[in-house]
């Protein structure tokens, strides 16, 4: 809720702005303090001021209340600090896209700001400028639920440009909600990128002393400098402690918890590496070595692609229009990849019209297999394909990319079943 009409008029007439020092007399009591931004959930007739004790209090303003400006606010001083660059140190570029990792309260006014400035991003990691030449760019300021395909395309181009401009690694500071999707998109768009491209997020914003942003960023920087691996990765906490970090392959990673620091997990594969607090890196399998060379961003995407989750009672008539309009359809089926019998004629119709129907499992863990039960065999007969142990979200992103990068549905299907960026495998050991 915003201020009521009468209260906004009153504030305007006396020239009160956020940060102004006010005297507020309401019901026999006078409060003195700085005007704070109006909270979304505050009542319209409530004025929030910060008392000299530091406490914010909400005061109801009545028609006979008196509000006076004692002192107008001074503009906030913000310095952009220039960092020294040294020959011989690795060049790392931070690209800020917004999200929790780049958000925090403005301590002067109390408002939550959407993005950190470039130098603030660098300041998150103590001592980082001693080991690398860091440059930071605030490209977007979005919470990641607002990221879309155009943003992925823009980001992939920016990353390729930085690498071709001499960056030894690019780190993308990203909101965690859809970081897995962006990581998958960059993985397909950047293909055999010769350098590490690392997405890093935070589950606690950097304005909190307990933020996981500094330690995640530190681990990511260390992985960029000492890991010697090329590809697209996600670096986040591996446990609840600030002393263990996991490096996930960009196409295998998924946010599996709403709030824990260790929310990110590799599914159907182990993280490619772990780091401890000292920065020691332990790889769990062979890496693709970083090399010199150019990066190319192939960013075309077929937007007419959907991701559907099968559920009991799914009514084909509700989905007919959607499926018949889409060139690509990913279904997260039940169990080994199933849908109900009633959905099969629709799948057949969609495939018949030239759409590609890709089956994954909402179990997430394990591979799909449509040969075991009748339903599965019927789905195959209807023209659907299953894609081993690929995550539904990854399959959705890949299908968009594959459809835009193949000449027909048959080639698209073949590419869907071919590993391009570590996104699928046909061997799962008991420990992952």
């Amino acid at each position: 809720m915003s201020y009521s009409v009468s209260l906004s008029k009153l504030l305007e007439s006396i020239g009160a702005k956020e940060g102004s020092n006010l005297s507020v007399s309401s019901k026999d009591k006078t409060y003195i303090g700085r005007l704070m931004p109006h909270h979304d959930f505050s009542d319209g007739d409530i004025l929030v001021i910060k008392l000299s004790s530091g406490y914010n209090v909400g005061i109801r303003i009545y028609p006979d209340s008196e509000v006076k400006v004692l002192e107008h606010s001074a503009p906030a001083l913000k310095k952009e600090v220039a960092f020294e660059r040294k020959e011989g140190r690795p060049n790392i570029v931070f690209i800020g896209t917004g999200g929790t990792i780049a958000s925090g309260a403005d301590y002067r006014t109390g408002a939550v700001r959407p993005a950190l400035s470039a130098s603030e991003m660098i300041a998150l990691v103590p001592g980082i400028t001693d080991i690398a030449n860091i440059s930071a760019k605030a490209m977007l300021s979005l919470f990641s639920e607002n990221m879309n395909v155009e943003h992925w395309q823009e980001l992939a181009k920016a990353v390729a440009e930085e690498i071709n401009g001499g960056a030894d690694a690019v780190m993308v500071l990203h909101g965690t909600d859809t970081m897995g999707y962006t990581a998958a998109a960059l993985s397909f768009m950047l293909g055999d990128v010769p350098k590490p491209v690392v997405l890093v997020g935070a589950q606690r914003s950097p304005d909190r002393p307990s933020s996981d942003a500094p330690s995640n960023l530190t681990a990511a920087v260390r992985f960029c400098i000492n890991g010697g691996a090329a590809g697209v990765f996600v670096v986040m906490h591996d446990t609840l402690g600030d002393d263990s970090f996991a490096v996930h392959t960009g196409t295998r990673v998924r946010k599996m918890h709403t709030s824990r620091r260790d929310a990110f997990e590799s599914i159907n594969a182990s993280p490619i590496a772990f780091l401890d607090e000292e920065g020691t890196i332990r790889f769990t399998r062979e890496k693709r070595a970083a090399a010199s060379g150019k990066a190319a961003a192939r960013t075309d995407m077929e937007r007419s692609t959907v991701l559907l989750q099968y559920y009991p009672g799914m009514d084909p008539s509700l989905f007919e229009e959607i499926m018949m309009k889409s060139k690509g359809i990913v279904i997260a089926g039940s169990g080994l990849g199933h849908v109900s019998e009633s959905m099969i004629p629709l799948i057949k119709k969609a495939c018949g019209s030239g759409s590609v129907v890709v089956v994954t499992s909402q179990c997430l863990g394990g591979r799909t297999n449509l040969n075991v039960y009748n339903t599965g065999r019927d789905m195959l007969a209807a023209g659907a394909i299953s894609v081993l142990d690929m995550l539904p979200e990854t399959a959705y992103v890949k299908l968009m990319w594959v459809l835009a990068n193949s000449k027909d549905a048959e080639e698209a299907k073949r590419l869907m079943m071919t590993p391009l960026a570590g996104e699928m495998g046909d061997r799962r050991t008991v420990d992952v």
Binding site: K27, K29, M36, H39, F41, S42, D43, I46, V48, K50, L51, S52, S53, G54, Y55, N56, V57, G58, I59, R60, A76, L77, K78, K79, G104, A105, Y107, R108, G110, V112, E120, A123, P126, G127, R204, P206, D207, R208, P209, S210, S211, P214, S215, T239, L240, G241, D242, D243, T258, S259, R260, R261, E277
Partner: protein, 620 residues
């Protein structure tokens, strides 16, 4: 108007007996914890976007924290692994009730804040706190005492141990709701401080939603005297010591003012900190501290204090600047310092003192201070202690001091600056509705004086007893005992006279659990002992015995060993045939019946001896 001899305000922190403030966990303390999740807390940028350099240096030194969880009373919210839930409504109602009982002015819309604290005591790096009311008052002995503010906040985590660069905390206490009530600086005598604390305590307890027992209520005292300075004594837990803390602090400040006058009269100037390595001079000293330090590759370092002689320890121990300096020095990790006013002593003979004075070229008005430790530590300790000495020329420093069990205090740290507080964006503001205020007003609990009247009319005790019982918040206990035993007069005497006697003996009768006391009255009701024995039994129980054990111990005195021997002899006689067949082996099987007959009146060892004697006598 004559100047007040004392200006004093207090702040009380009282734990509430509800679930935790921002999650659904129980608010109990546990003996054990599990897990040890490692965390670091990073200083955040200030309002101007700049980092606190000292705090950043601390962070870069790799200081980290580990957090233990506890069954039932910790969850992801405590570990800062999920956002805070909605504020606990019971806790909110309790603080609103309390504020209303103080006639405070409620804040119209309540905003939770983050009070920054990166010492690890909060997993988040801040304490959540909200101001609930201002401008209340209470009346104590006919005088109005202002209440500046009432806040609702979270308690911090408990420190379990600190080792090296890590501190281990247990999360059971973190998040327990606390009412923080701050008075205006309206108190003028040590006794008044006690009365105000008692009155606030009684009103807090009157809400029936506060925790009881040691550690559940903590007092901070703000004290200053004319020409003195504001000093905060933080975290006092024993109410009865409050007047002592105030009195001793007044004396300490008066003493420091006297020292200031002496130094000013002498024209003493701040001493330059010029450390002199005098290790060589002390190489043959027999002082344990000095020998130990030198063996540990440490040094003996001295600093001159020109014009400070006689105030470090003088006038028969009444001037004690030296001990103030030592308290500062100890915050730097040394065991202590030696100064010229206390030497020769502690194994440092006169010849060493004389040669040191000569070496430092000191006149009779000059003093010196020495420290024996690793060089860096010693220099650091000497620097802060000489700075402390120099401040004596200006007067009393503003300080935070720790309360000690003997009623004195010890330097802890400088008074903190204004707290850094930012909005808690995870908790939405809460509009205080008319309806909620009405509901709380209509359900206000009895005020202490109303409880007193009820006790008098319902239980027939006298007004003075009722007053004392309520003032010490023992009314609920009194009612329980009276209802259970039907002996209100006895209960009243116990909770007033007897408890006061025990307190005079330095025992804490409130440490006897309610259940134990109720149990004792059960035993009384069952005629296990006479009511005359109650004071002695309670004395035992205040020392830690449970009711049964106390009765056992005391019962023995009452029964006497002769009586017990007679009873045992009779029992032996009854089983003569069995005993003759078994001899001394009969002791084992007979112990059961003997203990049953004498339960609580004699201990097992003695029963065994008496039984053996009786058997020997029988079988010859």
């Amino acid at each position: 108007m004559s100047e007040r001899e004392l200006t004093c305000g207090i702040e009380i922190h009282q734990q509430l007996d509800t679930k935790k403030l921002f999650c659904d966990c129980e608010s109990d303390l546990r003996d054990d914890g599990y897990g040890a999740y490692y965390r670091r807390l990073r200083p955040t940028a200030s309002e101007m976007g700049e980092m606190d350099k000292a705090a950043l240096v601390q962070f870069q030194k790799d200081v980290g924290f580990r957090y233990q969880c506890c069954e039932g009373c910790t969850c992801l919210a405590d570990l800062d692994e999920e956002p805070p839930h909605s504020v606990n409504e019971d806790a909110m109602d309790t603080v609103l009730t309390f504020s209303m009982m103080l006639n405070g002015r409620m804040i119209d819309e309540i905003h939770f804040m983050r009070k920054m604290a990166i010492d690890g005591s909060n997993t988040t790096g801040y304490q959540r706190t909200a101001m609930i009311a201002t401008d209340g008052s209470i009346e104590v002995k006919g005088k109005k005492i202002g209440i500046s503010s009432v806040c609702l906040e979270e308690d911090s985590a408990r420190k379990v141990e600190a080792a090296g660069n890590e501190v281990l905390y247990r999360l059971d206490r973190l998040g327990i709701p606390l009412i923080e009530v701050a008075t205006a600086p309206d108190m003028e005598t040590p006794e008044e401080v006690m009365e105000v604390a008692l009155r606030l305590g009684a009103i807090l307890r009157a809400t029936k939603r506060v925790k009881r027992g040691i550690g559940t209520i903590r007092e901070d005292i703000n004290i200053s005297i004319p020409r003195g300075a504001r000093v905060e004594i933080k975290g006092a837990q024993e109410l009865r010591l409050l007047p002592d803390y105030v009195r001793n602090e007044m004396e300490r400040q008066k003493m420091l003012i006297r020292i200031k006058d002496i130094l000013n009269e002498r024209g003493t100037k701040p001493a330059d900190i010029i450390p002199e390595d005098v290790t060589e001079l002390f190489s043959k000293s027999s002082s344990k501290v000095i020998k130990g330090a030198i063996e540990d590759k440490g040094k003996v370092i001295a600093v001159r204090l020109p014009g400070f002689s006689g105030v470090l320890n003088g006038d028969g121990g009444k001037l004690r600047l030296g001990s103030e300096m030592a308290q500062y020095a100890r915050t730097r990790g040394v065991k202590g310092i030696f100064h010229s006013d206390e030497l020769p002593n502690y194994g440092i003979e006169k010849e060493y003192v004389d040669s040191l004075r000569e070496y430092l070229k000191l006149s009779s008005e000059d003093a010196f201070v020495i420290c024996a430790a690793k060089e860096k530590k010693a220099l650091d300790a000497l620097r802060v202690s000489v700075e402390r000495a120099n401040y004596a020329i200006e007067g009393v420093p503003q300080e935070t001091r720790d309360p000690l069990p003997d009623g004195t205090t010890r330097y802890s740290r400088p008074l903190p600056g204004a707290a850094r507080m930012y909005p808690e964006t995870d908790v939405p503001p809460m509009l205080l509705t008319e309806e909620r205020i009405r509901r709380i007003r209509e359900n206000l609990p009895e005020f202490p004086e109303e409880i007193e009247k009820r006790l008098v009319s319902s239980y027939g005790i006298n007004a003075q007893q009722a007053n004392q019982i309520v003032r010490r918040s023992r009314d609920e206990l009194f009612v329980k005992i009276s209802e259970g035993s039907g002996m209100p007069a006895v209960a009243a005497t116990i909770l007033t006279n007897t408890y006061t006697e025990l307190e005079h003996e330095e025992l804490d009768p409130d440490s006897i659990g309610d259940a134990q006391l109720l149990g004792l009255f059960e035993l009384l009701k069952a005629n296990r002992f006479s009511k005359e024995a109650l004071p002695s039994l309670l004395r035992e129980m205040a020392k830690g015995s449970d009711a049964e054990a106390a009765v056992g111990k005391l019962g023995l005195e009452a029964v006497g060993s002769d009586e017990a021997a007679e009873l045992i002899a009779a029992m032996v006689k009854e089983r003569e045939e069995f005993i003759r067949s078994k001899g001394l082996d009969a002791i084992g099987p007979l112990m059961g019946p003997v203990m049953a007959a004498l339960r609580g009146k004699i201990d097992g060892k003695q029963a065994n001896e008496l039984l053996a004697e009786a058997i020997k006598k029988l079988i010859g």
